[in-house]
């Protein structure tokens, strides 16, 4: 399993045709205290770069984009009870949703960890 990153600060773990998506530690730090996550329903089709979820901090609502196109198979039920998991474990228990990829070649443009870390360091 390899983890890839977007310039919008989402991460995606891909295993076969399935993937798990969340936001990065950098992103949660920028958002501040997360109080609600509006997650996509299972079965929803998402498009690479299109809105897939909304994360609400105390201060504001922020869009989360789909790193690749596909169909949502599950969203993280734990975030309904404890949205602060996005702050405490953004790249683990605080994952957002899983999807089946519709076009694996869309992964080609994403960054690996070293490239993403360099990208964040330059912000």
């Amino acid at each position: 399993m390899s983890r890839l990153y977007t310039q919008d600060h989402e991460w995606i773990d891909v295993a076969g045709g399935e993937a798990t998506v969340g936001i990065t530690d950098y992103a949660q730090g920028q958002l501040g205290d997360v109080v609600f996550v509006d997650l996509p329903d299972s079965g929803r089709a998402v498009t690479k770069g299109g809105e897939a979820a909304v994360v609400e901090s105390v201060k504001a609502a922020s869009d989360v984009y789909a790193p690749v196109s596909g169909t949502v198979t599950e969203s993280n039920p734990a975030l309904a009870d404890d949205p602060s998991l996005v702050n405490s474990a953004p790249e683990g228990e605080g994952w957002f949703f899983k999807l089946t990829l519709s076009d694996a070649s869309e992964l080609d443009g994403l960054m690996d960890k070293a490239a993403y870390d360099a990208f964040v360091a330059g912000l």
Partner: protein, 379 residues
């Protein structure tokens, strides 16, 4: 949004950055939005004491014979009856009775000290200067910073400061009640202190020369009860306290009656009128206004934000003017401007957020009971 390069630094800019604040543009200044996190800062202010830098706000001094009469020509307060060292909340009104700004007015005994909003201060000053008669002066105290110490421990912290009254006729600092103020000397530095604030908590606002602002802030932060608090928590604190924020809940198209701020129109002014827009405002006061600012308790966990529409059935009846998550209540709350027919407490409404309808109920404000220590209170 202004470029970072266009932003003016506040007198405490270096301190904020040293304390790890995230700085954002606000009212033309670089200001701290948060330090440790909005929820932690909010809760700390409710249980201990929070230090806020509100130096972006405009501090004005009106001096001269007839200052009270003149203030009554631009705002609906009874300034002629405002006793020395007393503070009043008031509203700067346009000729239609619309709210140009909300402000605090203190009678210093020699002058009136006004605190106006940061984003509106230059327009306020222009409005006032255009109406200022000969014999009165309006001074913008740009050489002063403004700090707010808010929370139940604020009194304990300030009681440890060695403050010498500037004049004999003013209250002792220990006897300073809510909505009162005067000047004290601290290490030879003149501080204008009012017991007031905008968080729903007891506390103080302290006007200090820019040259000594950092020393005062450091002296306050040296007490274990005090932590620095950013604009983010200031917003959630005032929202829970039911206090309107200018530019969001108040604007020039909204009257004091619509804003549910009729308490700011003094009894004598209600009888006599004579303030800008009085005919319209008093008509609304006695015969009803078409709409009203209300509080909404929002069901579920999803915050609803400013701009979201409010409906009853298929009819839009209003719009959210502020909304967010209330850390002390652990739920979303909002303020809305809503048609008066649907503004009664207990009215069920729907708020539309991203195409979804969220149930909400009109509730009395404040959402969170205020902890002011009023005159005569025995707390």
């Amino acid at each position: 949004m202004a470029d970072a390069a266009d932003l003016k630094p506040l007198p405490l800019d270096a301190l904020h950055r040293r304390l790890g604040a995230r700085m954002v543009p606000f009212a033309g200044y670089a200001m701290p939005i948060q330090y440790d996190g909005i929820i932690a800062e909010h809760l700390w202010t409710r249980e201990a004491a929070g230090l806020f830098d509100v130096s972006h706000m405009g501090q004005l001094l009106v001096e001269g014979e007839g200052a009270a009469d003149w203030l009554e020509s631009i705002a609906p307060g009874d300034f002629k009856a405002l006793q020395p060292h007393r503070v009043r909340y008031s509203l700067l009104l346009n000729d239609d009775g619309g709210i140009l700004d909300d402000l605090m007015v203190t009678n210093t005994g020699k002058s009136f000290y006004l605190v106006v909003n940061g984003a509106t201060k230059h327009a306020d000053i222009a409005h006032m200067m255009a109406r200022l008669p000969a014999g009165l002066t309006l001074h913008h105290m740009e050489d002063h910073a403004l700090l707010a110490l808010q929370g139940p421990q604020a009194v304990t912290v300030m009681s440890r400061f060695d403050l010498t009254p500037e004049s004999a006729d003013q209250p002792d600092f220990a006897d300073l009640k809510f909505m009162s103020g005067a000047r004290w000397l601290w290490n030879g530095v003149k501080l204008g202190i009012t017991r007031s604030g905008y968080t729903g908590e007891d506390g103080y606002e302290i006007s200090v020369p820019n040259s000594h602002a950092e020393a005062l802030a450091e002296a306050l932060l040296a007490h274990a009860e005090v932590k620095p608090i950013g604009l983010g928590a200031r917003d959630s604190l005032r929202l829970e306290a039911g206090l309107p924020l200018y530019g969001h809940d108040l604007d020039p198209g909204i009257t004091p009656v619509e804003a549910d701020l009729a308490f700011a129109i003094s009894k004598r002014r209600k009888a006599e009128g004579g303030f800008p827009g009085a005919a319209r405002v008093l008509d609304q006061l006695f015969n009803g206004a078409p709409r009203k600012r209300v509080g909404l308790s929002v069901e579920g966990r999803m915050p609803a934000r400013e701009g979201a529409t409010v409906s009853v059935g298929d009819t839009q009846v209003g719009v959210l003017t502020s909304g967010g998550f209330a850390p002390s209540l652990n739920m979303p709350i909002a303020m809305a401007m809503i048609a008066s027919d649907h503004a009664a407490d207990g009215t069920a409404v729907d708020i539309e957020v991203r195409g979804k309808r969220i149930a909400a109920t009109v509730v009395p404000m404040p959402f969170k009971q205020k902890n002011y220590v009023r005159e005569g209170a025995t707390k």
